[in-house]
């Protein structure tokens, strides 16, 4: 085997003509277990290091080990890399590497490709057993008809020149190939490989380096489509991770002592991400027997002074509903992270939906005001947990952080946060409690009160979910229940006072305002930008506080001819049989804003379980504004 340094061809000498492009969307798809994701994550990391904007998102099959070469089995990754910041997974792929042709069908159903998309397909199936050959040929035909540009690549064959077991190394060979096609720095690629395999022995590392170079070389020699994506290198430190990893770091950086959870997709990986480290960061993970217990345990811990976090998804929220009511009623500070997935019921467990907003707002019986915030970027997933703990304690309230499967699995680089001591929960207050002060000493203007913590002399009280007075004594006088409810509601109004009206992206007035929340910000703003370039009078607004709502919305809405939310959840499509404006089921934010502002807010939403792409939004805008916006 040749030694690395020699085999790196200096890019200058490369024969291929390199086309400068603003961005590229690349997919690597395969059966699960073929390392496509590792390949894509590496490509993303390399590009980020080269100063490109990057967004990668994994393509996950529904089963642990789906049948090989099956439509449902598509496992892989999409990497979107560009000259500028990338905020979403984009539209159709420009180039796809497929380790078998069958897995492509799933992606085609999901409209991931367009005519002109380049497919690089492993060609070993052309010489495989009869049935497979037949399938392969037929597929290649169909793909051609669909207008894809197909290249059949001898991946296995080439890998076997370098290693004995191709299945194990093909992904790094593909990485090499992509490095050639997109002009990725091989030094950086090599160090990335060394990092990935840091725990493996030198031989394995060397094998993978050889595969990298073999793939690179092969592409240099045999392919004639070479691009380059200029990147602006910055000397700022960056980190690259997905939203669940960001949440897990946020939990530790908030100094949260207890993470009480029960496994559920797509939330669990947030716990996995911190499991090894949290104990040295002063916290512990409690895997409870179920979500009800996870919530009760967190509430108990918070009651005892250690504000806890619980992380779950829709079905878990449903089970926590009763405890949510208690946390509101007894004013227990607590952070609840809801990584939303497709519903109702078990629904689409691995797919994205923004379907829990109303459930979190109104799930519990009676009036149960609580704080709800929604990060819209990976970076915010980190900072909002720190914010959530502070809000929970200042407002003596449960705080919901709504993310979703799109943020949970989307990977994006962002400036490395400098961890600040003031982010961490301080030691719990154990100084004696002021005798005259009551456990619910509601402030007349803000409804706020200070809570006694077990261990505080003289602060003894019995927390209860029953209607209670300032002393936490069971209320017999009917006036108390009304008064207490007013105080709990007032806390939200008081928080609302401290918020600024949100800033409109684009002009402050126009034909159409798109309103979004959570993971859709990148796609919405990209679509708006592209539409505005083509002269559309469209702007967008993205909400981060959902309860209380950010102030001044009605004023903002009134400046636009039309207001429409863009959400990933269900709404009746106008024109569907029997649907009228009066009986229409609106998307969740739209519905909430209509009630609060009385503005006739329309919505664009669906439950395909996919992130909404800028392209879909542009399509909608074309109809809405009748303009041609997509090329």
């Amino acid at each position: 085997m040749s030694d690395t340094t020699q085999t790196i061809p200096s890019r200058q000498t490369s024969k291929a003509e390199r086309k400068v492009i603003k961005e590229a969307i690349v997919e690597i798809v395969s059966d699960s277990g073929e390392g496509a994701q590792k390949c894509g994550q590496s490509l993303g990391a390399i590009s980020a290091k080269m100063g490109n904007g990057v967004w990668t998102v994994e393509i996950i099959p529904a089963e642990i080990q789906p049948p090989a070469r099956s439509k449902a089995g598509a496992s892989g990754i999409r990497v979107r890399m560009g000259k500028n910041k990338i905020t979403n997974m984009g539209d159709h792929a420009d180039l796809v590497v497929a380790l078998n042709e069958q897995v492509l069908y799933g992606r085609i159903d999901q409209e991931a490709y367009k005519p002109g998309t380049i497919l690089l397909i492993e060609n070993k199936w052309a010489t495989h057993n009869e049935d497979t050959q037949k399938d392969y040929r037929e597929s290649i035909e169909r793909f051609r008809k669909l207008g894809y540009l197909i290249h059949e690549i001898p991946m296995e064959k080439e890998c076997l020149k370098v290693v004995k077991d191709a299945r194990k190394g093909k992904n790094m060979w593909v990485l090499g190939l992509l490095c050639s096609l997109y002009d990725r720095d091989l030094e950086i690629a090599a160090s990335q490989i060394r990092y990935i395999f840091r725990k493996k022995n030198e031989e394995i590392v060397q094998n993978n380096l050889d595969l990298l170079h073999s793939g690179y070389e092969w592409a240099e020699q045999n392919l004639d489509m070479h691009f380059t994506i200029p990147g602006k290198l910055s000397d700022e430190d960056f980190v690259v991770m997905n939203g669940n990893e960001a949440v897990s770091l946020g939990v530790m950086a908030a100094g949260i002592d207890v993470c009480s959870m029960y496994p559920i997709t797509p939330a669990t990986s947030a716990t996995h991400a911190m499991a090894e480290t949290i104990e040295s960061a002063g916290g512990i993970i409690h895997q409870a027997e179920d979500e009800i217990a996870a919530m009760g345990f967190a509430i108990g811990s918070s009651y005892a002074g250690k504000t806890a976090v619980t992380i779950t998804s829709g079905p878990g929220i449903a089970l926590k509903t009763e405890f949510i009511g208690l946390a509101v009623m007894a004013e227990v500070p607590l952070v609840i992270v809801d990584v939303q997935r497709g519903g109702p019921s078990t629904g689409l467990p691995t797919k994205v939906e923004q379907g829990d907003l109303l459930a979190v707002l109104y799930g519990a019986a009676g009036d149960a005001p609580k704080i709800i915030i929604a990060p819209s970027t990976i970076e915010e997933c980190f900072h909002y947990i720190i914010l959530a703990r502070k809000l929970a304690e200042s407002f003596r309230s449960p705080v919901f952080v709504l993310t979703d499967a799109n943020l949970a699995t989307g990977v994006q680089p962002f400036p490395r946060p400098k961890i600040k001591p003031e982010w961490f929960a301080g030691p719990i207050d154990q100084t004696p409690w002021k005798d005259e002060m009551k456990p619910y000493d509601w402030d007349a203007d803000t409804g706020l009160s200070k809570r006694p913590i077990p261990g505080q002399k003289g602060g003894m009280y019995t927390l209860t979910g029953l209607a209670h007075d300032e002393d936490s004594h069971v209320a017999y006088d009917p006036a108390i229940n009304q008064r207490a409810a007013e105080n709990r509601s007032r806390k939200l109004a008081a928080l609302g006072q401290t918020l600024k009206p949100p800033v409109v992206n684009g002009d402050a007035e126009g034909d159409l305002l798109l309103v979004g929340w959570g993971s859709t910000q990148g796609a919405i703003e990209e679509a708006v930008e592209r539409a505005r370039e083509k002269g559309a009078k469209v702007s967008s607004l993205h909400l981060h506080f959902l309860s209380p709502l950010e102030p001044g919305l009605k004023k903002i809405f009134e400046k636009f001819k039309k207001v429409k939310t863009v959400e990933i959840n269900y709404s009746d499509t106008p024109g569907n049989p029997l649907i009228t404006s009066e009986n229409r089921r609106y998307a969740q934010l739209a519905w909430y804003l209509r009630a609060q502002t009385l503005v006739d807010i329309d919505c664009f939403s669906n439950v395909y379980g996919q992130p909404i792409s800028p392209f879909r939004i542009l399509n909608m805008l074309e109809k809405e504004l009748d303009l041609t916006l997509t090329d």
């Binding site: 207890v258 002063g282 009800i292 217990a293 345990f297 108990g300 961490f424 261990g455």
Partner: protein, 319 residues
């Protein structure tokens, strides 16, 4: 209880000499003759004897007549949700080794809606005293069948009599992993009740005490015979068991020797012992692993160290 090193500076000693008054708040609103009154008194006495600082003591309950208990103590209390006392109490204790935690639960609260948490609380074996107020009926909601109602119990949901054999909370608990302390007593045997609670309090781990409790309002007929009949009860006696003064022990007609280290024998004893209800310590194991010790193992880490840890994980994502 073994109080591990607390994770904050306040290490002042509890004020000496707490009196009974220091543990009793408003007048208990249970029916007159309700067994809960005697248990409340015994618990307050225990707190006083052990001089538990009220601010370091937490009573956690669910919902039910029995679960009103915390309101009548002048300590910290958590009157939570029906069936959910265990997870809340576990959360309270997890990172607060300095707190003395007591759980008050009813037969519906623990054995019906709370059964799943009961199973797991026993397994966690966190250092706390669990008192199951077992009146074999749903008291607060006015006489519905409970899982411990004797077969044939006439209730508002089973006017023709309940159709299933009752759960034996002792036997069920003895079948669970990591079980470390299982005892049974009766509210109308104050000496035995108190000795049992004391032993439970001293046990390092979760002590599960089923207290057979009188509900004169709904279950007069079912408990009165037992209370009156001197043959209705058998005391399990052993040097490692519940300690009764001789004069108190003499009051019982039936006394059997039972070694609480023998779990197989304990399971045998858990069934009705020749027509009588056994009271005493069925099983104790001080060596069972304790989840609260795990919960306290990394307390008091400095902010500097926390920051270092976060950064070490952050490094993995660095590019």
């Amino acid at each position: 209880m073994i109080a591990l090193k607390p994770d904050f500076c306040d290490v002042s000693l509890p004020d000496a000499n707490y009196s009974m008054e220091d543990y009793s708040s408003s007048k208990a609103r249970w029916c007159s003759g309700c067994g809960a009154h005697t248990i409340l008194h015994s618990v307050q006495k225990l707190c006083q004897e052990e001089q538990l600082p009220p601010e370091k003591t937490v009573f956690v309950s669910g919902i039910g007549c029995s679960s009103r208990f915390p309101h009548y103590m002048k300590t910290y209390g958590f009157h939570g949700l029906h069936g959910r006392a265990f997870p809340v109490a576990s959360g309270v204790k997890f990172r607060r080794p300095d707190l003395h935690v007591f759980v008050v639960t009813g037969d519906g609260d623990c054995c019906s809606i709370g059964a799943g948490h009961w199973v797991h609380a026993i397994r966690y074996n966190m250092n706390m005293v669990v008192m199951l107020f077992d009146n074999s009926i749903y008291g607060l909601t006015k006489k519905q069948t409970s899982p411990t109602s004797p077969m044939g119990t006439v209730s508002n949901t089973h006017p023709a009599g309940s159709i299933l054999p009752p759960i034996n909370p002792i036997q069920a608990t003895l079948g669970l992993p990591n079980v470390s302390f299982v005892a049974q007593t009766a509210d109308w045997k104050p000496a035995h009740l108190h000795a049992t609670l004391k032993k439970a309090y001293e046990h390092p781990g979760l002590s599960f005490v089923r207290i057979v409790q009188r509900c004169p309002i709904w279950m007069k007929d079912s408990y009165e015979p037992t209370v009156k009949d001197p043959d209705a009860i058998t005391v399990l006696d052993h040097e490692n068991g519940i300690h009764l003064e001789d004069k108190d022990l003499k009051k019982f007609r039936h006394v059997t020797n039972h070694d609480p280290s023998d779990i197989l024998k304990a399971r045998e004893m858990a069934e009705v012992v020749k027509e009588t209800t056994p009271i005493g310590l069925f099983y104790q194991n001080k060596e069972a692993s304790r989840y609260d010790e795990y919960g306290a193992h990394n307390l008091g880490i400095s902010t500097e160290d926390r920051i270092a840890a976060v950064n070490s994980l952050m490094d993995r994502y660095a590019i």
